[in-house]
Amino acid sequence: MRELVCIVCPRGCHLKIDDSLNVTGNACPRGEAYARAETTHPTRVVTSTVRLVGGQIPRLPVKTGAPVPKELIGSVMAELSRVTVTAPVKVGDVVISDVLGTGADVVATREIPETVKI
């Protein structure tokens, strides 16, 4: 039996999961899925930034479009350090596709119009 706090939503349900992966304490099905995933192969969505040129700010916020294995978070960050994006950017534009073979794309989360630097 393992106890964990659900991080799927701000409600923060206190979950219990037994060896046969039966989940209790969840208020919704997403909590059940979270508890199973967290026990077998924990994953997280990574949110960060990449270098940006041609926009009004020097960094573009990005996220992985799907959760990636927790142990790969550091490697994803290293991948993000290698990328420079040029404005204009639309929300959802793919910055890195299938990052590290996880199946998740890294996508832009902010719209950046092209600006002429003065």
Binding site: L4, V5, C6, I7, V8, C9, P10, G12, H14, R44, V45, V46, T47, S48, T49, R51, Q56, I57, P58, R59, P61, K63, K70, I73, M77, V91, T109, R110, E111
Partner: protein, 417 residues
């Protein structure tokens, strides 16, 4: 002459303006001091926004984007890079900006949506030296996420508010070492999920009932001293721990930004530090509404959106149908509750139900929220767990308000299992 001027283009202002448009107003102006709309959401690049409102998990910039897209479909006028300096009781709004110049606009109604600011080192009186390297968590967040600069490499965080927790993870991901998160209260001020995914995921220790009692370093922070505190939050001598670090981040609370509000003579609530509002988010100045973090500090933007829609709809009703009428009664906080929003209610003016936001003043296990009038329970709600860091809300059906005299009291009491 505008029907509505919305001051602030963050989540509160955007939702309020969209709602007022939908309710029939056509001459609406949003005044935003930054160069882009979205407010603080633009630097909150982490996810977790929108689960309640959009039923999906968005980052801050994405949440803002949803509303700027909605706004683009309306005819709402937007003036960015423009700061409001004064509002008069007759709803003249003084503003200044490099493109619009210094000008005064008149409005039939005004929505205050200026957000909040962070408490500082001076506000909490952290003693010690005054080197570079002490930042509020939000300022550090702007440097890292927007400007692309690291304000430190070895970090101690004072306060376990959500921004502090989020920054613990963010700084770690960008290569800094976060040594500790220190909280003076015996419980965290942030959401439990953030304790898990921002501290525990990265094995960052959380010291509850501790505080920073000294800062050392002449030019740059070199060390902070952390001590355990007693039940009166006084440091206990002999419990000092030393952390060699170059940065101290403060996440010690937010304060509604109400300079305009107070200067306009609007009645304030010392508990929320925002304007005292009615059921429709109207302030003591008729036709002037307040919503979002300027009214009271929220922890979830989804609630800001809902509350601001209420204000937007009410502003439209004020302009189109005239002032709200009816007797008014106070809403007060009873045992276990530190404040309520709204602070006053005009039952006649309540739509279908009355939403009351509040915070508890300590951790509660299984308990019952009671809304009472003259010692009689009007309605009650059960909860498994409540914490001061998590805003609560209850909805009272309008029919239960019939005949209520003297006011409502919201209180919380623990119940036996």
């Amino acid at each position: 002459m505008y029907e509505l001027i919305v001051i602030g283009g963050g989540p509160a202002g955007l939702a309020a303006a969209c709602e007022a448009w939908d309710a029939g107003l056509r001459r609406i102006l949003i005044v935003e001091r930054d160069k882009t709309l979205g407010g603080i959401l633009n630097q909150c690049i982490h996810n977790g926004f929108g689960l309640t409102y959009f039923k999906e998990e968005l980052t801050g910039p994405e949440y803002a984007h949803r509303f700027t897209q909605l706004l683009a479909k309306t005819g709402v006028e937007v003036r960015t890079d423009t700061m409001v300096l004064r509002i008069t009781p007759d709803r003249r709004v003084h503003m200044t900006g490099p493109s619009c110049g210094y000008r005064i606009e008149e409005a039939s109604s005004v929505i205050l949506a200026m957000g909040c600011r962070e408490r500082t080192r001076g506000a909490i009186g952290v003693p010690g030296a005054r080197p570079a390297g002490v930042f509020t968590a939000g300022a550090a967040q702007r440097y890292v996420n927007v400007e692309g600069w690291m304000p430190g490499k070895r970090v101690v965080i004072l306060g376990s508010g959500d921004i502090g927790l989020i920054m613990a993870r963010r700084m770690t991901l960008e290569g800094a070492k976060v040594l500790a998160c220190v909280e003076v209260m015996p419980y965290s001020g942030g959401l439990t999920r953030n304790i898990v995914q921002c501290l525990e995921d990265y094995k960052i220790p959380l010291y509850l009932s501790h505080t920073v009692t000294d800062v050392l370093g002449r030019d740059r922070v070199e060390k902070v001293i952390v001590s355990r505190v007693d039940e009166n939050r006084r440091p206990i001598p002999g419990t000092e721990m030393e952390f060699a670090c170059d940065t101290l981040l403060l996440s010690v609370g937010l304060i509604p930004e109400n300079e305009l509000t107070a200067a306009a003579g609007i009645r304030m609530d010392p508990r929320t530090k925002g304007a005292a509002v009615y059921e429709n988010m109207e302030t003591s100045l008729p036709g002037v509404f307040a919503c979002g973090n300027v009214a009271h500090v929220h922890d979830l933007v989804d609630y800001v959106t809902r509350e601001s829609q209420r204000a937007g709809a009410a502003a439209a009703r004020f302009v189109l149908n005239g002032p709200a009428a009816g007797e008014e009664i106070p809403v007060e906080n009873g045992p276990g509750v530190s404040y309520t929003v709204p602070q006053r209610v005009r039952p006649e003016n309540v739509d279908k139900s009355l939403g009351i936001f509040f915070r508890v003043n300590r951790i509660f296990g299984r308990s019952r929220i009671c809304v009472e009038a003259e010692g009689r329970e009007v309605c009650g709600f059960d909860r498994e767990r409540m914490a001061p860091g998590e805003m609560e809300s209850v909805t009272v059906p309008k029919k239960l308000l019939a005949g209520v005299k003297g006011g409502l009291t919201v209180s919380v009491r623990e119940v036996e299992k």
